[in-house]
Symmetry: C2
Subunit: 692 residues, 2 copies
């Protein structure tokens, strides 16, 4: 038996044995993302580029979960992990099918380039909806859950997750190929790195992807500082560049002069696989003495080690018989539905919700996102085998008449080039006038909130210019509200939006996945109480934010913001009313009593925040624990939430993380502890001084 | 009271009175398609450009009927008329709403630029699916029904229909702005004009639109020959140019040298309203003496006459209270469903259909048109408030598991630019392998079969290069059939397609409208027996057709084709078997006995063809009557079909239509009388020699 096939050896040993049989040229060939076969060694072709941000992506049909930001809004890592487990099962089922047909193409492998655990630092970032929000702790909890779900319980990895984009990466998209993010040591340690550290140390994520931008002058994919962190954390997976990021070294960052230098710099730093084409110059770099054969060998060994961990060189794995019927199965789609139910955030409700069906004959569903499949998808998604749009969900659920009007284009001022501006308002107003109630479905989609190069919009390469609705929709909202019909606004967007209007109720639905319309209808009609919580601060206006290119955390995110808050972090209403009482602390664990004082069952997220007494603590208390619970009307539960060690640390100006204080204030409630959210909810957070 | 408001006067008198109050400039302004208001006379702005080819189009939500070619496949003018009545009701309901909101924009008026009654002369024509097919009689019957439905029973017109494109117009799209169609007097009288004549004389269509191309050297919108025909037929409506067609006179046809000359030429010839902008030069033409004020006055009077007929200057009309709730009402959509049920054509069935649900656990629905909304729409359509795609329809109807795979892009060789060619075949094959049966949904859509300027495809400006499926789909069909799974192919396309494959069953679904998927599922599972009939010949190959630019009818359409027939005109199977016996003739009426000799109820279309003994009769018998009937299993009915006078005429080389013969042969059956169709159906047409 070939040594690399010997399952009694470690993956590292097997990888070394396999690579030892390769020529230099063969080793170098494997560092391309589209690695060719080495037929004489029985190594099949393999494409490292595969996507699975919220379900298997770009690989045909798969269960489509809500976008990552929506998953974060669940405050429910267990369910995130379940979504990832399903994603991994479907990835394996399709991998088996592709292999059976000899198809080794892109999007058909097991190295999934998810999750995106960048901090959603600025609400204008177009890719923010790919993340788990603005908080390092929430991001880490969800990221770990997603990685665990994707990678499985071993010993063979079900799939290999990848933490991206390492690190300090959050726009602007338009500048990403030449941008240098300048961040303080404190912000890096306090905000930008914790989730990466957690995924590597605690979830053993198999892959890390570097970012496009530079960080403090070093390109992310070849940064001594960042690569040093990976070594410090004992990362033992593979490192991949973002796609065509190494090309940016010479073309845009101007840090090198030639592709040969760029390839050498990345490889030397520790970038194992090149998504792009710059590693085509590796052999030239070797000839020129810029790299050594050992550099190539080390990278190739990392890559083979990952493939070995995935069982690709085992005769069989426990995953080979996952049946194709698992793909987009009814059971899987019901989990997607559950995610959508738990992710939508009720931001306002004057009592109109849940709707009283007995009093409604006709509902007008209006707006450019009402019947939009794209608004369900977000980006980096698969294809669903059925899309329940908001409109369809309401039609299916409501026994009366539903009248639909698109209202306006998502962002253009007219729906037809031959028409006058505002060509669809009259229809929308008529629909409203003929209805007892309006459900107004506005927001964005990934064509105007997304990634550089992906979008055809007129904004900044996928970034938002501001936090408002596009003008076409602002006019629509104004005009519909002027009809004085009872109106519920449903906003589908992956980020903070200020709708600048005062409807009877407001639901932020994110990009809720293929079952989004069903979840919305269930919430509207009270089959399900909303329970999503904001994983990002909703600001009043972009004008009061720091410059988009400013990577200082000052006055950004709930931990550092002084003002400009529209809806606070962690906020979200239910159809009931819950009260936290009796906060206690013992043995690194908080104990909170929660009572449903309302009239209907609900799910609630109990949140724990902490702040130390030192000068190094962030301005506002930081999330350090949370727990989703279900409560019947009148029910009381006592919730125990362990507080991680790290919650007692702070970071000084040098970026050193330590315990700087003996005393801490704990806050328990159902949202960030701040005056506005307490006014909004009518409930104060509990506070407790503790000395651990 | 102003004289033009006096409803006791004729529309002509009222129009003359109204126009007499206008200045020359005001009259000229009304000849634009986007006619401005004349406020001093209380004349509101009016946009003449409105669309309603198969339901109100481009005006937001409306009931979407199957595309025109599909409506023709019903062989059921009564139902066509009902669809048009619904369309007119919805147009009025929305017109009322637009007016209430002061919206006089494009697509919001009452002058509907439908139907398209051009003869579908060549199967490569991209716009062929807008027509009622290749037969003048079938086109006229459907066109008259559509016009009657749109215009209503009067006295006030519910809406104004428009017969287009007058005349001899059927591609190529890529040449339409400079093309000169050369047609013989015989072909013009025998094929190209009869439907126009019928709509004007028998259905009193209110509008006629000229075509882009020249006909025998004269531009259609200013042709002495064609305008002479309108006068001969006592046309008393309004004439509109196709959009920017007058500009073609100087820019492309080079028949005039300047826009001034073009405007003058069109107006002089009798073109009342200019869709385009060339009539901006009318006042200059007047100054230069190229036209007279009387020319302008005549056109303006025609236009005001139409607006008066529509009740636009009446205090109220019977249509003012059509409620908005009528738009896309459940009742209206059920008629759309009925149209889809009757329009789909079963071309092949080895007995697999209807499907036996008890034997099926898993169905694979595969193909680029399976979950496509565009494939339901065709072109010139509205927006449906719900789209039941083929996939969704099957999911809703089938209790077992449905697996979906897109299979391939509609026409590109890969679904992702980064992937290798054929990137979705492995998934499709896997889906097939995991199913008991495959429903393979292939075909075209309006992005590759449509109008010049509308499409982004790589083919000839919307025209087809051949009659095959795009290569991506040919490979898909081959590979799926190689799995040897039972396979039903569903082809959505607006024209003749040769799928070049031998599945267990083949359904040609056209572009079946918003309810298309429901209709398909009903047919697949036997809730409804298919009953659509081909309104066009399905040819074997485009290579055996005359040149696309050749407007001679020789070897084109079922009346003149000698060979190259894949499926004949009028052909379409049911789930039962019907037999025509006992053809009799008396008093211009044929009497046929029809028996359902099969085991299930069905609808059938009894068809009557005629041929005279003279040298002037078309090569093959011509359709002269038909009747759709419903028959229970074993049921026998006697059908009476009147034969119109015109059926006994033929056209000589000079274009003179006369009765040239004493004896005629009548053919009765369920398809065109030809040997192939008799082999396909196993039933011979009945023949009867008659001497009327």
């Amino acid at each position: 038996m070939k040594k690399y096939l010997d399952q009694t050896l470690t993956p590292q040993q097997r990888a070394e044995a396999l690579v030892s049989e390769m020529t230099t040229e063969e080793m170098a060939s494997q560092l391309r993302y589209d690695a060719p076969a080495i037929e004489r060694l029985g190594i099949p072709a393999y494409n490292w580029w595969n996507e699975a941000l919220h379900g298997l992506a770009r690989s045909g049909i798969a269960t489509m979960f809500p976008q990552a930001i929506a998953l974060a809004a669940m405050f429910d890592p267990d369910l995130v992990q379940q979504a990832a487990e399903i994603t991994a099962d479907e990835t394996r089922a399709k991998y088996n099918a592709y292999l059976a047909h000899g198809d080794h193409d892109i999007y058909k492998g097991l190295t999934l380039w998810a999750p995106n655990i960048n901090i959603f630092r600025d609400p204008r970032w177009g890719r923010g909806h790919e993340t788990y929000g603005e908080d390092p702790f929430l991001t880490a909890e969800n990221g770990k859950a997603y990685v665990k779900g994707l990678q499985g319980q071993g010993p063979v990895l079900k799939t290999a997750a990848c933490a991206k984009h390492f690190a300090v990466h959050s726009g602007p998209e338009s500048l990403r190929h030449e941008f240098n993010a300048e961040a303080t040591p404190k912000d890096i340690e306090e905000t930008y790195l914790p989730a990466f550290e957690a995924l590597i140390k605690e979830a053993h994520v198999e892959g890390v992807m570097g970012a496009y931008n530079c960080v403090n002058g070093e390109p992310s994919c070849a940064s001594d500082f960042l690569m040093g962190k990976l070594r410090e954390w004992n990362f033992d997976g593979y490192f991949v560049s973002d796609c065509w990021a190494i090309q940016d070294f010479h073309q845009n960052h101007k840090i090198t002069s030639t592709p040969i230098e760029s390839a050498a710099m990345a490889l030397k730093a520790g970038c194992d696989v090149n998504c792009g084409c710059t590693y085509a110059y590796l052999l030239t770099a070797l000839e020129e003495g810029k790299i050594t054969e050992e550099d190539i060998r080390a990278a190739c060994t990392h890559l083979m080690r990952t493939r070995i961990k995935l069982g690709m060189f085992d005769q069989q794995t426990e995953y080979d018989n996952i049946p194709y019927a698992t793909v987009a199965s009814p059971e899987h789609k019901s989990v997607s539905l559950q995610c959508a139910e738990r992710s939508m955030v009720l931001l306002k409700n004057n009592g109109i919700l849940p709707l009283d069906e007995t009093k409604l004959k006709t509902i007008a569903v209006i707006g450019p996102n009402a019947d939009s499949r794209i608004a369900l998808e977000g980006n980096y998604c698969g294809t669903a085998d059925r899309y329940t749009t908001f409109l369809t969900g309401i039609q299916d659920r409501f026994a009366g008449r539903v009248i639909y009007a698109e209202g306006c284009h998502l962002y253009k001022d007219r729906s037809s080039g031959l028409a006058l501006a505002g060509d669809r308002y009259a229809e929308a107003l008529t629909a409203a006038e003929n209805a007892d109630l309006v459900i107004l479905c506005v927001g964005l989609d990934a064509t105007i909130e997304g990634e550089e190069g992906d979008t055809g919009n007129e904004f900044s390469s996928g970034d938002k210019n501001d936090l408002r609705l596009p003008e076409s929709q602002r006019i629509l909202v104004d005009r519909i509200l002027q009809t004085a019909k009872p109106t519920v606004i449903v906003c589908a967007a992956g980020s903070s939006i200020n709708i600048e209007a005062d409807p009877d109720a407001l639901i932020h639905a994110w990009y809720p996945g293929s079952e989004g319309g069903k979840a919305l209808a269930e919430i509207l009609f009270g089959d399900v109480s909303p329970s999503g919580k904001l994983p990002v601060t909703f600001y009043e206006t972009a004008e009061k934010l720091p410059d988009f290119t400013d990577y200082s955390m000052q006055n950004r995110t709930y931990r550092y913001a002084k003002d400009n808050i529209l809806y606070p972090f962690g906020y979200g209403l239910t159809y009931s009313k819950t009260e936290c009482t009796d906060l206690q602390y013992q043995n690194k664990t908080a104990r909170i009593t929660v009572t449903n004082t309302g009239k209907v069952p609900c799910e609630e997220v109990v949140q724990l925040y902490i702040k130390d007494a030192s000068q190094w603590s962030p301005l506002n208390p930081s999330l350090c624990g949370f727990r989703r619970i279900a409560l019947n009307a009148g029910e009381q539960k006592t919730v125990e939430i362990p507080i991680p060690e790290k919650a007692f640390t702070s970071v000084n100006a040098n970026g050193e993380r330590k315990i700087f204080s003996d005393t801490f204030t704990l806050y328990a409630g159902t949202h960030q502890p701040d005056p506005l959210s307490e006014t909004l909810t009518g409930t104060k957070c509990l506070t407790l001084e503790i000395t651990p």
